[in-house]
C-alpha cells in the first residue's frame, strides 16, 4: 500500500496549491526524491517512462 499512500499524499498536496504553484511544487519534489534515490540512471529511466505517454500521444 506504499504506492497508494504516496499517491494520496502527493495528490492532497497538489489539491492545496493554486494551479500555478503545482509545477514548482512537483519540481521541488523531484529534486528531493532524486537526492533520496541517489541514482541518476534510475532517474533517467523514470523520466523516459514518464515521457512515454507524451511520445505515444504525438505518434497517435
Amino acid at each position: 500500500m506504499e504506492l497508494q499512500k504516496s499517491f494520496r499524499v502527493v495528490s492532497s498536496a497538489i489539491d492545496k496549491l493554486r494551479p500555478d504553484q503545482a509545477t514548482d511544487f512537483l519540481a521541488r519534489l523531484v529534486l528531493i526524491l532524486a537526492n533520496e534515490i541517489g541514482d541518476a540512471e534510475k532517474i533517467a529511466n523514470a523520466v523516459d517512462r514518464a515521457l512515454s505517454p507524451v511520445s505515444q500521444g504525438e505518434e497517435g
Binding site: T23, D24, A27, V30, L31, N35
Partner: protein, 563 residues
C-alpha cells in the same frame, strides 16, 4: 558614475631590441618560438628555459593584461610556479581565500572554509589579479638569459610548407620579418592568429553549454570583511538570480552575475546600472554605498570548446589557443598553466636529444581528454546556475526555493568545487584528491630535512625527474647508482631518500603518520615523479633495470627497451 583607473597595479610599457632577423644576413635558427606572452606563454618559456634551451617569446602588445581577469589560482598552479622558483614572489602579493559563504536572500545558509590542509605547502585557492601573476612570471623571464621576449611583435601568419620548420610572419615596429623555429607553440589565446592561419576550428564540447551573458565588474573599497567568496542566491533586489562577490587583494572586489534572457547587455553594462548593482550588494553586507570606485566593467559568455588535436605537426597549442573553458571554478588560466607544465619538459627533453620526438604526442594524448572531461563536468555542474532552457529554469527555481531548508542542494547550485580531475590514468580518475597513485599529481606532505620542517615537494628538483625512495633503515648500497639506473645519456633524473621514521643517518624523514598515510608508502617503495609533478611509476624494491625501464618509458622510449 565613471569607470576609473585601477590603483592595484601600475602597467608599464615594455620595449625590446630590434629583431635579429631584420639585421642578420642568415636566418636565425630557433629551437622554440612561443606566440603570446600571457600567463601560459610566460610559464612555458620559463619551463623550457630551465633546461638551458633558448626561447623566442613573441607578444603583440607592449604590456600585461589590462584587467584583473583570472583571480583564483589553484594549488596546482602555485606548485608549478614553485618549480619555476617564483611561488614565493607570487604568494607575497596573493591573498588566501579563507571561506565560501552562500546566502539565500538575506540569510546565510552555508559557511565553509577552503582547504587549509596542514600537509600542503600552498592553500587550496590563492587570489591575485592576473596582471600581478603575469608580472611575477615576467620578472623571471626578464632575468632568464635563455628567453628573448619581443614586445609589439605581432604574428600575422604561419607558413608550414616545411613541416619540420614552421615559419612565422611577424610585424615588429622596425619592420616585417619571418622567424623559423623547430617548434612553434601557440599560446596566443582564443582568437589567436596561429590557429586561425592554420584554419583550425574548435569543437563544441558538452551540451553546447551556456548561452547566457554574464556581467563582471571590479570596484575598489576598503573593508575588513573576511577574505571569502560570497554567493547570493535570490538577493532581495533580484529574486530568482545569483550573484557572486569575490574579495581580491589591494582592496578590490569583483561582482559577477548572469543576465536574464531578455536583458539588454549594453544597458546592463552601463556604469550607472552596474553601480546600482554594487550599491545593492554593499547594502546587503551592511557596507557604505558611497565610497567605492568602479574600475572595470566587462561581459563574458562562457565557452566550452576544444581543438580536436593540440598538435599540428611541429605547431602545438596551449591554453585558450587549444581550448576555451568556462571560468567557473578556476578553470581558465589554471588549465593553461597545466598545459604549459605538461608540454614544457617534453619539448625540452626532445630538443636536448634525450627523448624521442613522439614524446610530444603524449601532450595531446594526456591533456585533451582531461580538458574534454573538465568541459563535460563543468557543463553539467553549471547547468543549474546558468539555466539555459525552460526546463533548467524551472528546476533552478526549485533548487533555489529548497536551498534554505535542504543542504543537499548546495553542490547543485555552487559549482566551484565540482570535479576537476587531473588524473592521467582513467582507471583512477574518480578517486579522491590525495591518493598517491600512478597518474595523479604527487600529494604534498610535511617532512623533516636535517631537523627542519619542510615539504615533500621541496625535494622535487626543477627541470628533472625525481626518484623518491622510501625506507625504514639506511638503504645503503641497495640504491643503485643513478647513472646505472637511467643510462649515461639521460641526465634529467635525480633521487632523494626519504626515511619513514627518524634514524641516525636519516637526513630526510616523513614528519608523522599522517604524511605516511597520505602517501600510502611502505619500506622499499620507490616513486618516479615527472617534472610536472605527476607520479609516473610506483614500484616496491625496484631493481636498477626496473628504474631505468620506468624512466625510459616516461620519456617515450618504451619501444626501444622492448627491442
Amino acid at each position: 558614475m565613471q569607470v576609473e583607473t585601477p590603483r592595484y597595479f601600475e602597467w608599464s610599457r615594455y620595449r625590446s631590441a630590434p629583431p635579429v632577423e631584420l639585421s642578420a644576413l642568415e636566418k636565425a635558427d630557433h629551437p622554440i618560438a612561443i606566440v603570446g606572452a600571457g600567463p601560459v606563454g610566460l610559464t612555458l618559456a620559463l619551463t623550457i628555459a630551465q633546461y638551458g634551451i633558448p626561447v623566442v617569446l613573441l607578444e603583440a602588445r607592449d604590456t600585461l593584461s589590462d584587467n584583473s581577469r583570472t583571480l583564483a589560482v589553484t594549488r596546482r598552479s602555485v606548485q608549478i610556479l614553485d618549480r619555476l622558483g617564483i611561488a614565493q614572489a607570487f604568494r607575497e602579493k596573493a591573498i588566501t581565500r579563507e571561506s565560501n559563504y552562500v546566502y539565500h536572500g538575506r540569510r546565510l545558509v552555508s559557511q565553509a572554509p577552503y582547504g587549509q590542509d596542514p600537509q600542503e605547502k600552498y592553500p587550496d585557492i590563492s587570489v591575485l589579479q592576473q596582471p600581478w601573476t603575469e608580472k611575477v612570471l615576467l620578472d623571471a623571464v626578464i632575468e632568464s638569459p635563455y628567453i628573448d621576449i619581443r614586445w609589439l611583435n605581432a604574428v600575422t601568419g604561419i607558413n608550414t610548407s616545411d613541416p619540420l620548420r614552421p615559419e612565422l610572419e611577424v610585424e615588429a615596429p622596425e619592420g616585417v620579418y619571418s622567424l623559423a623555429a623547430r617548434y612553434v607553440i601557440a599560446a596566443d589565446g582564443a582568437r589567436g592568429q596561429v590557429r586561425r592561419s592554420l584554419g583550425l576550428k574548435y569543437e563544441e564540447i558538452g551540451d553546447g553549454v551556456i548561452s547566457r551573458n554574464f556581467v563582471i565588474c571590479d570596484f575598489e573599497l576598503r573593508s575588513d570583511l573576511p577574505i571569502a567568496r560570497r554567493l547570493w542566491i535570490c538577493p532581495p533586489y533580484r529574486p530568482n538570480s545569483a550573484v557572486i562577490l569575490h574579495r581580491q587583494p589591494f582592496d578590490v572586489w569583483r561582482l559577477d552575475y548572469a543576465l536574464d534572457d531578455d536583458e539588454d547587455i549594453e544597458k546592463a553594462m552601463s556604469p550607472d546600472v552596474v553601480a546600482g548593482r554594487v550599491k545593492e550588494q554593499l547594502s546587503l553586507l551592511g557596507l557604505s554605498q558611497d565610497e567605492f570606485r568602479l574600475v572595470w566593467i566587462s561581459s563574458y559568455r562562457p565557452m566550452s570548446r576544444s581543438l580536436p588535436c593540440y598538435r599540428a605537426g611541429n605547431v602545438l597549442f596551449a591554453g585558450d589557443a587549444a581550448h576555451q573553458t568556462p571560468i567557473f571554478g578556476g578553470r581558465g588560466m589554471n588549465q593553461g598553466l597545466l598545459d604549459a607544465a605538461n608540454l614544457g619538459w617534453k619539448l625540452a627533453l626532445v630538443l636536448k636529444g634525450e627523448a624521442p620526438e613522439k614524446l610530444l604526442d603524449t601532450y595531446d594524448a594526456e591533456r585533451r581528454p582531461l580538458i574534454v572531461q573538465n568541459l563535460h563536468d563543468i557543463g553539467l555542474a553549471t547547468l543549474c546556475m546558468t539555466a539555459p532552457t525552460k526546463g533548467a529554469a524551472l528546476m533552478r527555481k526549485a533548487a533555489f526555493d529548497l536551498l534554505p531548508t535542504e543542504p543537499f542542494i548546495l553542490p547543485l547550485i555552487d559549482a566551484f568545487n565540482a570535479s576537476k580531475s587531473e588524473c592521467l590514468d582513467p582507471a583512477h580518475k574518480d578517486m579522491p584528491t590525495h591518493p598517491a597513485v600512478v597518474g595523479n599529481p604527487l600529494p604534498d606532505c610535511i617532512v623533516q630535512i636535517e631537523g627542519k620542517s619542510a615539504f615533500l615537494h621541496d625535494l622535487l628538483c626543477p627541470a628533472s625527474f625525481t626518484g623518491l625512495f622510501f625506507c625504514v633503515d639506511d638503504p645503503g648500497a641497495s640504491i643503485p647508482a643513478t647513472a646505472e639506473k637511467t643510462g649515461a645519456r639521460h641526465r634529467t633524473y635525480t633521487e632523494a631518500v626519504v626515511h619513514l621514521r627518524p634514524h641516525d643517518r636519516a637526513k630526510i624523514v616523513l614528519a608523522d603518520d599522517a604524511a605516511r598515510a597520505r602517501l600510502e608508502v611502505e619500506d622499499g617503495d620507490w616513486m618516479l615523479i615527472r617534472p610536472d609533478g605527476y607520479i609516473q611509476s610506483r614500484i616496491t624494491r625496484p631493481s636498477a633495470q626496473e628504474i631505468q625501464h620506468e624512466y625510459l618509458r616516461a620519456i617515450g622510449c618504451q619501444v626501444e627497451i622492448e627491442r
